[in-house]
């Protein structure tokens, strides 16, 4: 797998990251190297093998639906970079 610049840009956007030209070059190179390495898995025949999707052997962990204490409002907002008395504040979504 050889990554091209357009794919890198698309993936970066999905990951909400951005790279300048130099770091994009390095990232493309590193990712290509790693992808070529992990493609070793294609040597293995996995026909008929179910993908393993969960590692815990716990299933249907149920509990009574009771009211309990949770993180209170003030604590929830405590670490906000920007806030008002009730909400997190972010820059304008619409210009």
């Amino acid at each position: 797998m050889k990554l091209d610049t357009n794919t890198l840009k698309k993936i970066a956007h999905l990951a909400r990251l951005e790279f300048d030209e130099e770091s994009a070059g390095k990232m493309t190179q590193d990712m290509t190297q790693i992808l070529n390495w992990v493609e070793k898995l294609n040597e293995l025949n996995t026909d008929g093998v179910e993908p393993l999707t969960t590692m815990s052997s716990e299933v249907n962990v149920m509990r009574e639906d009771v009211v309990g204490t949770h993180l209170d409002h003030e604590k929830g907002l405590k670490n906000a970079p920007q806030r008002d008395s009730d909400y997190f504040r972010v820059p304008k979504v619409l210009e």
């Binding site: 990251l17 790693i34 992808l35 293995l44 093998v49 393993l52 604590k75 304008k92």
Partner: protein, 475 residues
């Protein structure tokens, strides 16, 4: 004089009234100061540790102290402890203050353990050398030009340099066992789901475990038995009963032990380590244990499987760091989207970005089946192979690491070379089974060699007992 290297020693001094918890904490605080250049601690909780010590001393006087009264613990910078900062060694979590205490730590505090500070690590647990940290690198106390291993490098060095009795790390692909091997201490990764992950900043949720560093097997067993068990705040945490590992350390039966041909005769294994492990297997044979060589044809596929799945999970887990709710927010943004992008690009380090990008790639619509689903299938093959082997044999023994501690910068320009450091530790992580690394002598340069033992899921009691037997057999 060196003292307090084990909890038994502390307990004895406390019982004989030769010391109190305040003096124990003060002793470690002095060591931390003397060894500050190792950069193991990110923050020392001097005041809260002394306050805790005073409270535990009172309990000891009135005879109602918990099981860990007098034990002093350091915690990795990815674990939440209410009222204290946690950064996951990342700029993106700068200034973050935990608003609650994670279950594992709370259970230790409830038994009167004293938390002395938080420990340096690779950013979000991603690394094998502790070189990827916003807090700077950690030095290995054996040779300060060498890495302590990672990602829990600070936790390993804190025990190595006697800065606390034991410490907590996290192990996703070897992040407890590899630094334990590099620094000559004991490190355990429990079975996946044995310890609640509530209050642990997630890296890869189907691999992450909280593990323990200590100088003695008994301390390791004791800390794990108190942390482990079901938790209302983590529905994946196992509801299986937790044995009292620390009281089950006697091992006196012949064991059936397998070693994997591909690990011991691997080209990447350092000669001294190979000789070391072959010597140990020979001794075990003489002691009457059954030693069998088996093939592990999947060895070369374990690391690729690990990297596809963990980067995918990391890309998803780390999407929460967006500059809205906590941590760093870029001051340069002009609208919401640029706030996300600039915050994340300025806040994450290069290795974390690399893994987020890879994870995003393998999860993207066009490549999902070819990479992600494929790796999930191979994971099942590896897990089943390993479990079947561990049904037949009590333990698998292998080296913890292909080499002893390497020098700073040695693998910095080649991500795959760095990933290969985890060659022998990822099998247990991919399979979810427990594994322990114990110190097993040194190489020709005097650098510690780690021996890794794996057992089947939830067989921690056997693992600790056998590790204890091995450490006493050697001495």
């Amino acid at each position: 004089m060196e003292k307090f290297r084990s909890f038994d020693e502390i307990k004895k001094s406390l019982e004989n009234k030769e010391t109190d918890c305040k003096a124990v904490v003060t002793y470690y605080l002095n060591n931390i100061q003397t060894k500050a250049h190792l950069n193991a601690f990110v923050e020392v909780y001097t005041q809260s540790a002394l306050d805790q010590a005073a409270a535990v001393d009172k309990k000891l006087a009135s005879g109602n102290a918990g099981k860990l009264a007098g034990m002093v613990l350091g915690i990795k910078d990815v674990l939440c402890y209410q009222g204290h900062e946690a950064n996951a060694s990342s700029k993106i979590l700068e200034g973050f203050e935990s608003q609650f205490t994670g279950t594992a730590i709370q259970r230790l505090i409830d038994e009167d353990a004293i938390i002395i500070g938080r420990l340096n690590c690779d950013e979000f647990g991603m690394g094998s050398s502790n070189e990827n940290s916003v807090h700077g690198r950690v030095l290995n106390g054996v040779d300060e030009e060498r890495v302590p291993g990672g990602s829990s490098g600070g936790s390993a060095v804190a025990v190595q340099a006697n800065l606390c009795t034991a410490s907590l790390g996290t192990d996703t692909g070897g992040s407890v066992r590899q630094p334990a091997a590099f620094t000559g201490v004991i490190g355990v990764k429990p079975t996946y789901s044995r310890v609640s992950r509530y209050g642990l900043i997630a890296y890869a949720s189907s691999f992450d475990t909280i593990g323990v560093f200590s100088n003695t097997v008994k301390d390791n067993a004791l800390v794990l038995e108190i942390m482990a068990g079901s938790d209302d705040f983590d529905s994946t945490a196992s509801r299986k009963p937790v044995p009292h590992y620390s009281e089950l350390l006697h091992f006196d039966k012949p064991a059936k032990i397998a070693y994997l041909k591909e690990t011991i005769y691997s080209d990447s294994l350092q000669d001294d380590i190979k000789e070391n492990i072959l010597g140990t297997l020979e001794t075990l044979k003489k002691e009457g244990h059954e030693i069998v060589e088996v093939n592990f044809p999947l060895l070369d596929y374990v690391l690729p499987t690990y990297y596809i799945l963990t980067t995918a999970e990391a890309s998803s887990n780390l999407s929460r760091f967006d500059g809205v709710k906590y941590g760093y927010r870029s001051p340069n943004a002009h609208n919401l989207e640029s706030m996300y992008k600039m915050t994340r690009s300025e806040g994450f380090g290069p290795e974390v970005k690399r893994r987020i990008m890879l994870g995003t790639f393998v999860l993207s619509a066009s490549y999902y089946d070819a990479y992600f689903t494929k790796a999930q299938k191979v994971r099942r093959l590896i897990k089943e192979f390993t479990e079947n082997l561990l049904d037949k044999y009590d333990f698998i023994i292998m080296p913890t690491t292909p080499s002893t501690a390497f020098k700073f910068g040695e693998h910095s320009n080649d991500p795959v070379a760095m990933y290969l450091e985890d060659l022998f530790t990822v099998q247990a992580s991919v399979s979810g089974v427990p594994a322990i690394s114990i110190p097993n002598g040194t190489d020709r340069n005097g650098l510690p060699i780690g021996l890794q033992i794996m057992a089947n899921s939830f067989k921690e009691a056997d693992l600790f007992a056998f590790a204890n037997y091995l450490t006493t057999m050697k001495s």
